[in-house]
Amino acid sequence: MTVNDPAVFAEHLVKRFGERRVVDGIDLIVPRGAIYGVLGPNGAGKTTTLRTLLGIIEPDEGRRSILGHFSPREASDRVGYLPEERGLYPSMKARDAIAFMGALRGLDRRTGRTRAAEMMEAAGLGHAIDEKIKKLSKGMAQLVQLLGSVVHRPDLLVLDEPFSGLDPVNQEKLEALILAERDRGATVLFSTHIMAHAERVCDRLAIIAGGKRRFEGTVDEARGTLPSRVRYLPARPQAGVAEVLPHDATPDGDGWRFQLPREGIEGLLVTLIERGYGIGGLSIERPGLHDAFVRIVGRDAAEGEPA
C-alpha cells in the first residue's frame, strides 16, 4: 500500500458476541487528512467497531487496514487513541502520564515530558503540569489523557465519544484540538452520539445502527437525505390557498409548512403571486444533521439502548 491509501479501510467487518452480531458487516473508508465521524445511538456498535479497527479485538469476519497495514499493531506507533472508558494511573503526575502514553507509542520519555509541558500550557492546563491525576477534575483528567493520545504526533487519531464528560468550555477546546490535529496533517476518526459536534467539525461521517452502516458521506449529503422544509406566510390570507400549495402542506399559525418540492419553489411562487395571495413571509429551512440522523436510523433506534 502507499501513502495514497486511505487512513482507515474496512471491508465487511463482523464482530459477534455470542450469537449477536454487534458489528454486522461494516465497510469504512476514512481518507487521509479527514475528520471522520462515526455516528450512532448508544449500543450501535461504535466502540466495538473502533476497537476492532485498532486491533484491540479481532474481527470474526472481514478485513481492515490502518495507515496501510493490515495488522493494526504494525501501525501502533503512528496511532493515538482515546478510549471511551477513560483511565490514567491516579498517582502519576499529569506530565508523566502524558509522557508514559507517548512512550507506549515509541516516543522517548524526555521528548514526551517536554512536549507534555508545552501542550498543557497551550491547553490552559499549565498550573496542573506537576499535579497528580487524582487531584485533577474529571474533565481535566480527560483533557490530559487526550493530550497523551496525541503527544507522539500520530498520523491517525481515534477518539471514542471524546465530547462526553466535558463541559461546554472544554468541548470547545476539544473541537479546536481536533481541527488543529487535522491541520497538522493527521486523520481524525471519532465516534459520538451527539450530532452537534459532528455537524461542526466532520468532513465525512458514517451513521451506524444495530451494527450496520446506514449512511456514508459528507455532512451536507447526510442532510440532503431529507428535503428542506418551506414555511410560507401569505400576504393576503384568503380561503383557497391550500389548493395551490403542495398536498403535504399543513397550517402553522397564520402560515403553512410543507416540503420543498423536488422541482423547486419558483413555479409555486409565481402561481401564488398571480393568484393574488402574495408573499407575506418565506423561509426555506435545511434539515439539521440530527433530523437526518433520526430519519436514517429511525426514531426508536435513535433513542438507542439505555446507556
Binding site: T47, R51, S76, Y81, G87, L88, Y89, M101, L104, G106
Partner: protein, 408 residues
C-alpha cells in the same frame, strides 16, 4: 523497528511504570525491611530466652571440694581447659572451690542446697579417685570435673611446670560441604525462592487489579500487544526482586566480611555444584519460578474484576504454590527418591526442586535440561495467559469473567 525490539521496548515501558509505582510507596519500605522486622521479632524472642538462661547461668556453678594446696592448681587448670570452648553456652558453669570440712560426702550433698549458687556437679575426695555428684543436666559438668581432677593431678606431678605447646594451626577448606550442610543449603535455597515469589506474584496481581479498576488497561492494550503488557509486568516486578535481593545481598556481604572467618564459613552456603554455579542456578531458578507463578497469577488477575475476586482466586493459587513448595522440600529431603523426580519434572515445582538439587548433587547437565523445559512452560504460560487475558478483559468495557459469561 523489528517486532522483537518493539515488544521489548514496550515491555520495558510498562516494566518501568510498575517498578516505580511499586518501589516508591511506603508499602515497599515495609517489604524491603521485612527481614529486619522479622529478624528483630526473632531477636526479641531470642533475647528473652537468653536473659532467662543468663539469669540461671550466672548462678550455676560446678564445685570442687579440694584442700587449699590444690585450689590454685585446679583454678589454673580450669582456665586452661575452658579456653577450648567456643561459645558461652557450651562452656561448663563457673568453678567454685570449697575447703573440705567434716564429712566431704555430706558437704558435697549440702552444696546442692546452697543459696549462693546453683550447683550442677560437685567433686570431692582424693584427686586420684575423686567422687562426683551431679544433678539434672549436670552429666557433662561431671565429666568436666573429672577432667579437671586429672589435669590438676598432672600439674601437681610436674610441680606446676605444665608444658606450653603452641600448635601451628592451618585451616583446611572442606570440598563441597558435608551432606547435612548441603541439605540445609538446599532447603534454604528452596525456601528463599519461594518466599520472594509469593510476595512478587501477588504484587503483580495487585498492579493488574489496579489497571482494571482505573481502566488504564484499555490504553495499554490499544498501544501494546498483551504479550508485551504481560512481559512488562513480570519484568517490572522482577526489577523489584533484584532491588530487594541486591539490597540484602550487599548488606549480608558487608556483614559477612566483618564476621570472624570461622563463623562466616560455618554460615556460608555449601552447594554440591560449587558456589559460583550455585549462585547462577539459584538466580535462574528464581527467575523461572517467578515467571511461571507470576504468569499464573496474572491470568487470575485478568479474570477477576474486583480486588475481592482477586483475593478469592489468589487463594487457590497460593495453596497450590504451598503444595509446590512442600513437594520440592520433600524432594530435597530425599534427593534420589521418586518424589524428587516428580518435583523436578512438574513445571510449577521444577524451579524449586532444581534449586534444591543444585545444592545436593554436582551434575550440571540436568539443570540445562530443566531450564529449557521450564522456559518452554514460561512461554506457554505467558502466551496462554495473554489469550485468556484478552478474553477476560478486552471484549468490552462491561466484560464478565469467562466463567460467568458461559452461563449467560
Amino acid at each position: 523497528m523489528s517486532n522483537l525490539l518493539r515488544t521489548l521496548r514496550q515491555a520495558m515501558t510498562i516494566a518501568r511504570r510498575d517498578f516505580i509505582a511499586t518501589v516508591f510507596t511506603p508499602i515497599f519500605l515495609l517489604f524491603l525491611f521485612a527481614p529486619v522486622i522479622m529478624g528483630s521479632f526473632g531477636a526479641i524472642g531470642g533475647m528473652g530466652a537468653a536473659s532467662v538462661a543468663d539469669g540461671r547461668a550466672d548462678k550455676t556453678r560446678i564445685v570442687a571440694i579440694v584442700p587449699d594446696a590444690n585450689a590454685r592448681t585446679i583454678a589454673e587448670a580450669d582456665t586452661r581447659l575452658r579456653a577450648v570452648f567456643r561459645r558461652d553456652e557450651e562452656a561448663p558453669p563457673g568453678l567454685t572451690t570449697l575447703r573440705p570440712a567434716g564429712d566431704p560426702a555430706a558437704q558435697a550433698r549440702a552444696a546442692f542446697a546452697s543459696k549462693d549458687y546453683e550447683a550442677t556437679a560437685v567433686l570431692y575426695g582424693p584427686l586420684e579417685t575423686p567422687q562426683v555428684l551431679y544433678g539434672p543436666r549436670g552429666k557433662r559438668a561431671a565429666d568436666y570435673l573429672g577432667l579437671l581432677a586429672a589435669e590438676t593431678l598432672a600439674a601437681n606431678r610436674l610441680n606446676g611446670d605444665v608444658p606450653r605447646v603452641t600448635a601451628v594451626k592451618t585451616a583446611l577448606e572442606r570440598q563441597g560441604g558435608s551432606a547435612g550442610n548441603r541439605r540445609q543449603s538446599a532447603s534454604f535455597a528452596v525456601f528463599g525462592v519461594f518466599l520472594l515469589n509469593l510476595f512478587l506474584a501477588s504484587q503483580v496481581v495487585g498492579t493488574m487489579a489496579e489497571e482494571r479498576n482505573n481502566k488504564v488497561i484499555e490504553v495499554l492494550a490499544a498501544a501494546v500487544p498483551l504479550e508485551s503488557v504481560f512481559l512488562g509486568k513480570l519484568l517490572g516486578m522482577f526489577g523489584v526482586a533484584i532491588l530487594f535481593v541486591g539490597f540484602w545481598g550487599t548488606i549480608i556481604a558487608k556483614l559477612g566480611s566483618l564476621l570472624p572467618p570461622d563463623v562466616a564459613s560455618a554460615l556460608a552456603i555449601q552447594a554440591a555444584v560449587g558456589t559460583p554455579a550455585f549462585v547462577v542456578l539459584f538466580v535462574t531458578y528464581f527467575t523461572m519460578a517467578y515467571l511461571l507463578l507470576g504468569s499464573a497469577f496474572l491470568v487470575v488477575g485478568a479474570q477477576a474484576s474486583t480486588p475481592r475476586e482477586i483475593q478469592m482466586l489468589a487463594l487457590p493459587i497460593s495453596v497450590l504454590q504451598m503444595g509446590m513448595l512442600a513437594l520440592a522440600l520433600a524432594g530435597t529431603a530425599r534427593p534420589d527418591g521418586w518424589i524428587a523426580t516428580v518435583a523436578q519434572m512438574f513445571p510449577l515445582s521444577s524451579p524449586f526442586a532444581m534449586a534444591g538439587r543444585a545444592a545436593t548433587s554436582p551434575d550440571l547437565w540436568p539443570h540445562i535440561a530443566a531450564i529449557a523445559w521450564q522456559l518452554l512452560w514460561v512461554t506457554i504460560f505467558i502466551t496462554l495467559g495473554a489469550r485468556l487475558f484478552r478474553r477476560g478483559v478486552l471484549q468490552s468495557g462491561s466484560a464478565k469473567p469467562f466463567w460467568k459469561r458461559a452461563r449467560g
